[in-house]
Every structure is written in structure tokens, then in C-alpha cells.
Amino acid sequence: MQFPSATLLAQSVLSGIFVGALYGLLGLGLTLSWGLLRQINLAYFALTFLAAYLCYQLATVGGMDPLATILVIAPGFFLLGVALQWVFERVHVTPFNSLLITFGLTVIVESVIQSIWTADFRRLESVYGVAKFRLGPLYVPAPELITLGVAIALSLALWAALRFTDLGKAMRAAAEDGPIASAFGVDRRFNALALAGTCAALSGVAGVCLALTYTLAPAQIYAWIGVVFAAVMLGGIGRAWGPLVAGIAIGVSEALTMALTAPSWAPLVSFSLLIVLLLVRPGRE
């Protein structure tokens, strides 16, 4: 086996960090709704792809700046998330059923995407796509850098909001013990709606970043599930920083695996990490 050069390795680590940022962004909504709402929402993956396709449509047909589409997509998805949560509350969904139901939703959204945009690959061509600059011997692509920036900013903002604001504290209290939090005057219904909306809006933002950096196809929705869940689990469920930190760790390991072996082996990395985590820490009593 030939050992790759230092520059190549550094470039892989950098690209791993960028991929990890996207994992973190995708995992953010997931970890919050899992930790704080006790819902495992697979539909966020479908929503992310829906947002990516919307961004593609608005930018290529509508002529909008791809980043500016966030201003339309994020509020729209917030409302969508609120509406979904409203329905979930009406039907009293258990955590496990939320997994099955949002799995069903994901399939529906996938077929909607496929019927509108077909199963072909779509690539958003934008000013950001060609923008690249050099950092010493390394290439830094602009869309990935934007994604990293957005992921760090949002993780920081949500961490601070959960830690320091009254609303954030109320949400954490409600996740710990719902009825007791209610007894202390926490409006759980309102909080859940706000949180679900936020998580959906996050998946909207993730979708825009996805459109900037990746080629899109409806069937790829499922390709992200395993690795993003690994990031969520490794990072600790309900922690705003978790998915980003763990996502970058996974991204870098994947990039190194690709550089040292073959690109097609990358999907094994996150799964192996997840299995190792389960072996080492099967959970407290």
C-alpha cells in the first residue's frame, strides 16, 4: 500500500471536516427533537432533501441567490414543523411510533420529490460552486466553508438558547419530567410547537447547504440516515454541540479511510464507530 502525501492527507482531513459539518447540521434538528421532544424524526431527512430541491428550483428557475433562499425556506419549514407537531400531539404519538410514522412520511416526501424532479441527479450551479481559494497548499471550496460556518453558528446559538434563556430551560425541564414541568407553569404545548418548528427550519437550512455542496437524487435520502444517526448517538442525544463534534470526527475518519483505502469503503466507518460505542458503553442501568 502506498502512503499518501502530507498535503493529500491534510486535504482529506479538511474535506472530512466539511462533510462532518453537514452531518452536524443534519443531526442538529434530529438530536434536539429526540432529546427534548422524545420523537425520532426520520422525516427531517426528507425535509432536508425537499429544502435542497426547493433551493435548486428557486435558484435555477427563479433566479434567486441560493443563500437567499434560506429566507424563504426557513420560515416556511418552521410552519411545516409546527403543523406536523400539532398533528403528532393530536394523535398522541409514542417515541417508537414516531419513528415508524416519520418513516412513512419520508417515503411519501421521497415519491413527491421523485414525481416533480424525477429520479435523475440534479446539480445546483451557482457563483458559490466555482468560488475556491487557496490556503497554503490546500484548496478551500466556498460552499463547504459556508456550511461549516452555518453549522458552527447554529450549534452555538442553540446551545446558548437552551442553556441561558428561560424558554430553553423550560424545554430541558419538560424533557426531564413533563408533568412536573407543567406543574411549575411550563407551557409544554407551546414549547413543543416552537421546538418542532425550529427543528424543521434547521432541516431547511441544512437542505440549502446540501444543495450548495452535493448532487441531489431522491433515493439518497436514505444514504444519510445511518451516518447522521451515528453522529447524533456519538454526540449524545439532546446536546446541541454533539452532532457537529461527532460529525466532524466521523467525517475526518471517513476521509482518511477514503484516502488510505478506497472511497467506497467510507460507509463502513460510521457504522463501525456506532458498534464500538455500543460495545464500550451499552448504557447505564
Binding site: 412513512g104 411519501i108 445511518g226 463502513l268 451499552p282
Partner: protein
């Protein structure tokens, strides 16, 4: 709540039904029907095998696997490689396909089933990821390498009049086998254990169900049958590719079929499979494959929301409700006659349970520290102490629900502090829960029969039911045997806890506040009951706040405060000790 537990394994009707239906369907190739029917029926049978095999673990125990495609695919590739590349006769590849899939399932299960938190969710996600991982491995290694594997040259065994009918007959045989296995598991000890795991896994383990082993066995059986389906299907499609095999379609379809048919019925997935295959065919025949997928998703959501018991579950519960609408009366007073003996082994007064220097820590809190005392055979020992003093933790540690951090527990001369909870139950220790934890979807009778099967007595199913009825009569629940636990009131649930613990025929019974919340006359009944349990040979440790009962029952008391033993001895002596009174009443009263 009308989901019903499986009826016992007697009744050969279902088995005869499966075999009979199989025999009739085996005649189809000789009717001279158009070729289309054979391939359509093949698909129905194919999905019956996949859905029913999935249900053996996932439906019965509630561990939903999203990785059935991985095991199905493993079977497909095993057969493809063996038959096409190594020219092994096709029929011999099927056991290999089953074995490969089962070994994969065992390896995955051995890791994932150890998890104690978020078990179901994690299992679902890990199995989903496994589908793509197995696909990646096969794609990147010479097993496939990219172009797919052709089975055109593999001869189809001559079973029926044509190759197509031979495939149909093989699928039929696989379906009959799968349904027989599903029915056998459903009516067996294993099935009972799986249904208990579905409702409350921790309680099941403490009742003596070896949960880890049950899940592994069920998973291996489930995977092996999926592997057989894959092997046959490889020959049916005659061209195997990774992208077609390891997709989301198999798990999605299988989950949908089982949920739609009813996951708590052994025949539910088969009903769902027939319905969905027909629906699927209608869509693909009309070239609406994409719309068909959306309908899939919608049916899955609707089924979970509006028909949680599935088609067959809904029908069965309607039939049962009509049958049982007559027999609901009030619980009779406890009958003290006709008691089974429990056990009279060993010498009265010798140490039965020896606890030495026991410690248990939770993050930041020392729940038990240096606890040492003996429980003597034949006595009733009361464990007292204020709230949070470690009484319930003590019971949880002795019954194996929690593992001790330090110290030793010796039961009948054997160290048990490191044993899993089910082994401790098997050794002869039974417990009740302060807040009753019945298995919500098992009948009252089955709740009790479960411990007779998995506890020290370890009886077969029919004997366990007879035993259970006796203990239900003993605790005054005889007339509620067929009720479901959510229909019981608190008093009845407390006595169900007791009946469940007794059916194990324990040598040591740990009672955690069985009297709390009962009325004074109910407490009198309960005191008489506890006495007569001891007369049958069981040693009792009970945690109680009702002092009247403590004084009436206890031979000795042990007092805990902040996880430390602060008093031990005869009830009257201990209650007069200095520290004990202040622990209960506060410093100024002492």
C-alpha cells in the same frame, strides 16, 4: 386494550390448517392456469415468508428490525455465489443461505441486544444501517464487485411440471415452514418470553425470562428464514445486484405488511402480505410505481394511527369481546384452601440470604453503603426506613435489576451478585414491584403463568397455566383470569403482583410495599395471605410503611437510613433504639 396473549400450544388446528392450505396450494401448477398466476402467487408466498419471519422477532418482542433486507440479501448472495460460481446444486445452497443470514443476525444481535437504553430505537437504526453496510461490503469485494451475479446457467430443480412451477412450489414450502415456525414460537415458552419483553423487558428479566437469549434465538430464526427466502428469490430473478437487493424496499414492505396484518398474531403478517402484494401489483401493473410508494407510506401511517392491532388483530379482538362479555364479576375474597406447597427444603433458621458489605452508588448518591445482614430460612424479615433510605434499591440489587458496586450476596451458599436477573429468579428469588408492573398485553392468567414457566418451578405451558389458576384463586383473582391488566383496579393489581411472584414457587420472596394504598380491611386480608405464604415454606423480606402490618408479621426487622443499617433485631427492641426513632421522626422527637 384488547390485544390478547397467545393461547397455549395445545390445539393442533392451526398447524393442520397451515399444512392443509399448503397441500391444497401445491395443486395449483397442475390446474393448467395461465403462467401469470404462478408468478403472482410466487410473489405472495415470497412476501409471506419475509413478513412472517420478520414478525417472529420484531412483531412478538417489539424490536422492529429495519434490516430484514440485509439478511434477505445475504441469503440471495450466498445462493448466487454458491450456485453460479461454485456450481453447488441449488437445493444445497438454501441451508447455507439460512446459516449465513442467521450468523449475521447473531453477530449483530450479540452487540445490539446488550444495550439497556433506547433499545428498540437503537435496534431499528442499527439494523437499518446494517442493510447499507452489508451492501457496501458485497459491492466492494469479489462477492459481487459491481456487475451483479447472473444465475441463468443454474438449473432449477425439477419439482413441478415447469421451472416456474418449481419455484412456486419451493416458495410454498418455505411459506409453510415459516408459518409453522411462527406458530410454534407463538405458542411456546420462547413466544411467551418475547411477548413479555415487548411489554416490559426489565420486569420480564426479573421474572426469570432470559431476555438476551430469547431475543437472539428469535432473531436468528427470523434471519435464517429470510435467508431462505433470499436464496429462492435469487433463482427467481436470476440476476442479483446490490442496488436492487439492499434497498429500503424490503424492510419497508415487510414492516408495512406486518403492521397492517397485526404483529401480535402469528398469521397477521401473512394476511398483510397477501393484501399488500395485491395492492402493489395493481400499482406496478398500471405503471404508477412512484405513486404506489407514496400510498405505501400513507398506509403505514394510517395503520399505525388507526389500526394498531392490524386487520387480523381487530377481527380477533372483536370475536373475543363477544365471547367474554358475559364473564366479568367482582373479585372474590382470598381463598386460603387448596394451596400448593411451595417448598420446604433446608433447615429452618439457617442463613438463606447473606448480604455482606453491599454498596450501590448512583451518580453522586450512595444508595447503599456497607450493608450486611442475614435473612434466615423460614422467617419474615421487615425492611424499614424513611423514604430514600435504600430499601427499594436493596430489593433491586438482590433481584438483579441493579448490579451491586461492591460487596457480596450469597443465596443458599451460592454467590449471586454478578448473576443476571433471570438467573437469580431461576435460583428461587421472586419479587413484587411497589408500583405494579403487569405485562399490559398479556392476560392476567398469562402474567402469572409466565413466572411459573420461567421462575424456579420452570414448568411447561399447560402445567404453568394450571399452577397460575391456583395462585389466582389464592389471591382472590380467580374470576379475573381472562381480564387484561389495565382493566384491574389497584387492589387487584397489587394481588396480581403477589400471585405472579408466588407462581415462581420462590424460596425467597421480596415484597416491595404490597400494602400501600390498600384499605384497612384489604390490609387484613393481605396480612393473612402473607402469613400463609410463609407457612407454605417461603422466606419473606418485606418493605413496608404500614407499621400495624410490620408488628403483626415481622419476626425480625432491619432498619436502613441513608443506605446504612442503623438497627437490627426483634421488632419491639429495634423500635426502641435511639437512632431508629430519630431517623423516622426527626431529631427533636427522639
Amino acid at each position: 386494550m384488547s390485544r390478547r396473549a397467545p393461547r397455549p400450544g395445545r390445539g393442533w388446528a392451526p398447524l393442520a390448517g397451515i399444512v392443509g392450505a399448503g397441500a391444497i396450494l401445491a395443486g395449483v401448477p397442475y390446474l393448467g392456469l395461465p403462467l401469470f398466476y404462478e408468478s403472482f402467487l410466487y410473489l405472495v408466498l415470497h412476501w409471506i415468508v419475509l413478513a412472517t419471519s420478520w414478525n417472529i422477532l420484531s412483531g412478538y418482542s417489539g424490536y422492529f428490525s429495519f434490516g430484514h433486507g440485509a439478511f434477505f440479501g445475504a441469503g440471495m448472495y450466498t445462493t448466487a455465489v454458491l450456485a453460479a460460481r461454485l456450481e453447488v446444486p441449488f437445493v444445497w445452497t438454501l441451508p447455507a443461505a439460512a446459516a449465513v443470514a442467521a450468523v449475521m443476525g447473531l453477530a449483530l444481535g450479540a452487540v445490539v441486544f446488550r444495550v439497556r437504553e433506547l433499545r428498540g430505537e437503537l435496534f431499528a437504526l442499527v439494523t437499518l444501517a446494517a442493510t447499507f453496510v452489508v451492501g457496501t461490503i458485497i459491492l466492494n469485494t469479489p462477492i459481487d464487485g459491481g456487475p451483479g451475479v447472473y444465475l441463468n446457467a443454474v438449473p432449477v430443480p425439477r419439482i413441478g411440471p415447469s421451472p416456474a412451477s418449481s419455484l412456486y412450489l419451493m416458495a410454498l414450502a418455505a411459506a409453510v415452514l415459516t408459518l409453522l415456525v411462527a406458530r410454534a414460537v407463538y405458542g411456546s415458552r420462547l413466544g411467551m418470553g418475547l411477548f413479555a419483553i415487548h411489554d416490559d423487558e426489565d420486569a420480564a428479566e426479573v421474572m426469570g425470562v432470559p431476555t438476551y437469549r430469547c431475543k437472539l434465538i428469535a432473531f436468528a430464526a427470523s434471519c435464517a428464514l429470510a435467508g431462505v427466502a433470499g436464496g429462492i428469490h435469487a433463482l427467481f430473478v436470476s440476476y442479483v445486484t446490490v442496488s436492487e437487493t439492499f434497498s429500503i424496499i424490503v424492510p419497508l414492505t415487510v414492516v408495512l405488511m406486518s403492521v397492517l396484518g397485526g404483529t401480535r398474531q402469528w398469521a397477521g403478517p401473512a394476511v398483510g402480505a397477501a393484501l399488500i402484494t395485491a395492492l402493489l401489483y395493481a400499482f406496478t401493473a398500471g405503471n404508477h410505481a412512484v405513486a404506489g410508494k407514496a400510498v405505501f407510506g400513507a398506509v403505514l401511517i394510517a395503520a399505525i394511527l388507526f389500526m394498531p392491532d392490524g386487520v387480523l388483530g381487530a377481527i380477533m379482538s372483536r370475536v373475543r369481546r363477544r365471547a367474554s362479555s358475559r364473564g366479568a364479576e367482582r373479585a372474590a375474597a382470598p381463598t386460603l384452601e387448596a394451596l400448593p406447597e411451595i417448598d420446604h427444603a433446608g433447615k429452618h433458621g439457617e442463613p438463606l440470604l447473606v448480604v455482606h458489605d453491599l454498596g450501590k452508588r448512583f451518580t453522586g448518591v450512595r444508595a447503599l453503603a456497607g450493608v450486611s445482614f442475614d435473612v434466615r430460612r423460614g422467617e419474615i424479615l421487615a425492611l424499614l426506613g424513611p423514604n430514600g433510605s435504600g430499601k427499594s434499591t436493596f430489593i433491586n440489587v438482590v433481584s438483579g435489576h441493579y448490579r451491586a458496586d461492591e460487596g457480596s450476596i450469597t443465596f443458599e451458599g451460592r454467590r449471586i451478585e454478578a448473576l443476571p436477573a433471570h438467573a437469580i429468579a431461576r435460583a428461587g428469588i421472586a419479587r413484587t414491584y411497589q408500583i405494579p408492573r403487569p405485562f399490559a398485553h398479556l392476560s392476567v392468567l398469562d402474567n402469572v403463568a409466565l413466572t411459573a414457566m420461567f421462575g424456579r418451578a420452570a414448568q411447561d405451558r399447560a402445567m404453568a397455566e394450571r399452577e397460575a389458576r391456583r395462585w389466582l384463586a389464592f389471591t382472590g383473582l380467580g374470576s379475573r383470569a381472562d381480564a387484561m391488566p389495565p382493566a384491574l383496579n389497584l387492589h387487584q393489581r397489587k394481588f396480581l403482583e403477589l400471585a405472579r411472584a408466588l407462581a415462581a414457587r420462590p424460596r425467597l420472596l421480596l415484597l416491595d410495599e404490597v400494602l400501600s394504598g390498600l384499605t384497612p380491611s384489604e390490609i387484613n386480608d393481605a396480612i393473612a395471605l402473607v402469613r400463609s405464604i410463609r407457612e407454605r415454606g417461603t422466606t419473606i423480606v418485606f418493605v413496608e410503611h404500614v407499621m400495624r402490618a410490620v408488628m403483626a408479621l415481622a419476626d425480625r426487622v432491619v432498619v436502613l437510613d441513608h443506605g446504612v443499617v442503623i438497627g437490627e433485631g426483634l421488632p419491639d427492641d429495634v423500635m426502641r433504639q435511639e437512632g431508629v426513632a430519630s431517623a423516622f421522626l426527626g431529631r427533636q422527637h427522639a
